[in-house]
């Protein structure tokens, strides 16, 4: 299908929902303390995003404008409830560590954002690709942040010891800060910075100039 694939590839890095639109930050902070929870959350969000976009796109011609947000949220919420139940049924231990964040996918701006900005106006196939691309873009950031936090916060990755810990006779002193939410902000900030070096057109123009306080004081 002509011209379809850019919907999939564009949101991966250049139009990444986290680094460009700064959406989905709450869950990205909360579930990235370990790679495993980041992966589970990524999978859950991607599936919900794809299914909701496809569902909304396929009925887009008939959604009454007056209640379109309610219809979209109903569809997304149903999918999230079912996803939460599937995780509880088959990934019980992981679902306990994800706790409320799977349920909060409903309020993730990304899902409603893609439904409202894309799936509501586009045919099913581009909507599917766009949702999958956005889901994978979100997943990419979560996996990067989750890997860095788990590796430097605990010295291990997915339950395997990678860096020998000082307390076990190795050399690595775990950075406890990595397990706290602020570290996710720092890492995401660095990622935004890196992507904007690569794509300088994303740099926003400053809304105001800082005044030189020395000069102001003297005049």
């Amino acid at each position: 299908m002509k011209g379809g694939l850019e919907h999939l590839t564009a949101p991966l890095v250049r139009g990444n929902p986290i680094t460009l639109h700064i959406l989905g930050i709450c869950s990205a902070l909360a579930v990235t303390t370990s790679l495993q929870t980041a992966l589970t959350m990524s999978g859950a969000l991607t599936v919900v995003l794809v299914l909701s976009s496809v569902a909304i796109s396929s009925i887009r011609r008939h959604i009454p404008t007056a209640i379109r947000l309610i219809v979209q949220i109903t569809i997304i919420a149903s999918l999230v409830i079912v996803m939460d139940m599937i995780l509880k049924a088959f990934f019980f231990e992981i679902s306990k560590t994800l706790s409320i964040f799977v349920g909060l996918i409903v309020t993730n701006c990304m899902v409603l954002g893609r439904a409202e900005a894309f799936a509501r106006q586009q045919p099913v196939w581009p909507s599917f690709l766009d949702a999958l691309g956005n889901g994978l873009g979100y997943s990419l950031i979560l996996v990067i942040v989750g890997s860095i936090r788990e590796l430097f916060g605990t010295g291990g990755l997915m339950g395997y010891d990678v860096l020998p810990l000082a307390e076990d006779g190795g050399w690595f002193q775990p950075l406890r800060l990595m397990l706290l939410a602020p570290s996710a902000f720092f890492i995401m900030g660095f990622l935004v910075w890196l992507i904007r070096i690569w794509h300088p057109e994303q740099i926003e123009t400053a809304e105001f100039q800082l005044q030189d306080t020395d000069r102001v004081g003297r005049s």
């Binding site: 008939h62 009454p64 209640i67 219809v71 149903s78 509880k88 088959f90 019980f92």
Partner: protein, 267 residues
């Protein structure tokens, strides 16, 4: 061109038509609710199996955490943890009912095997209480070593299910473990924390006059009848307090504990 098929005619209506808006909202709600309901029914057995495994793991964990319990179990063999069904209103063991196959939660829902609690007595907010309750007893020889009572009560936003383990005097707590709840993650859910559970052993339920004093207090606990609260989870703590007050009282295990304290031989 008049369309004969009513379904096609409905979808051909303009999107801002009132009838279509209502009809469409109804259809979306119907499809979504059927979808969620079917998934719920299909997935429930899997989820229940996990909860059951969790419950047994918590019971085993509590047993292993109690001082000397592991040795005792190893010495006596696991068989010695016997389950007996208790008639709560009399405090006597119920005969002729299979304890292993008894489902206390199902019994509490069935009017034939439960009682509706008078609102004044229902401090734990459980509304209906099964007539029979299982008690787990660990013995060394004939002497009772440990008594485990299943309890439940409303916390902040969910039902708390817990095991209360008592020393043979029927007054000293050997452990309390909440094995199922839906409290706020990170706040009320900390009733599960090993550090908080470690506050319970050694606390006492009643004073010398027999009045139930055990409670979770806000802040620091003073004396043998108080347990530190969890900061931010006052209502979960209150729920634990009222849960214990109910289950130790006359509608709970009160009559049975009275027999135990009177030194009756509970075989």
């Amino acid at each position: 061109m008049a369309e004969r098929n009513p379904i096609k005619r409905f979808f051909a209506l303009p999107n801002d038509h009132l009838g279509k808006t209502l009809g469409f909202a109804f259809m979306v709600a119907l499809v979504a609710s059927v979808f969620v309901s079917v998934a719920s029914v299909l997935l429930k057995p899997h989820y229940q199996a996990h909860l059951e495994a969790e419950r047994q793991a918590r019971m085993a964990e509590m047993m292993s955490l109690l001082p000397g319990m592991a040795d005792l179990l190893a010495e006596a063999g696991v068989e010695s943890l016997v389950v007996r069904l208790l008639d709560l209103s009399t405090g006597q063991f119920a005969e002729g009912v299979d304890a292993a196959g008894y489902d206390q939660r199902a019994a509490a829902r069935d009017p034939a095997t439960s009682m509706v609690l008078p609102p004044v007595a229902d401090v734990a907010g459980i509304k209906q209480r099964a007539n029979l309750a299982p008690v787990y007893m660990l013995r060394r020889g004939r002497a009772l070593e440990l008594l485990v009572l299943p309890v439940r009560g409303v916390g902040y936003q969910s039902m708390l299910y817990a095991y209360l383990a008592l020393k043979p005097d029927g007054n000293t707590i050997a452990g309390l473990t909440v094995y199922e709840h839906g409290e706020t993650p990170g706040i009320g859910a900390r009733v599960e924390d090993p550090a908080w559970r470690a506050l319970w052993p050694g606390k006492e339920l009643t004073d010398d006059s027999g009045e139930i004093l055990i409670e979770v207090v806000r802040g620091k606990a003073v004396g043998p009848h108080q347990v530190d609260g969890i900061s931010g989870a006052t209502r979960t703590g209150n729920g634990v307090s009222t849960m214990l007050r109910f289950w130790l009282g006359e509608y709970g295990f009160g009559p049975f504990l009275a027999r135990l304290k009177a030194g009756e031989d509970l075989q």
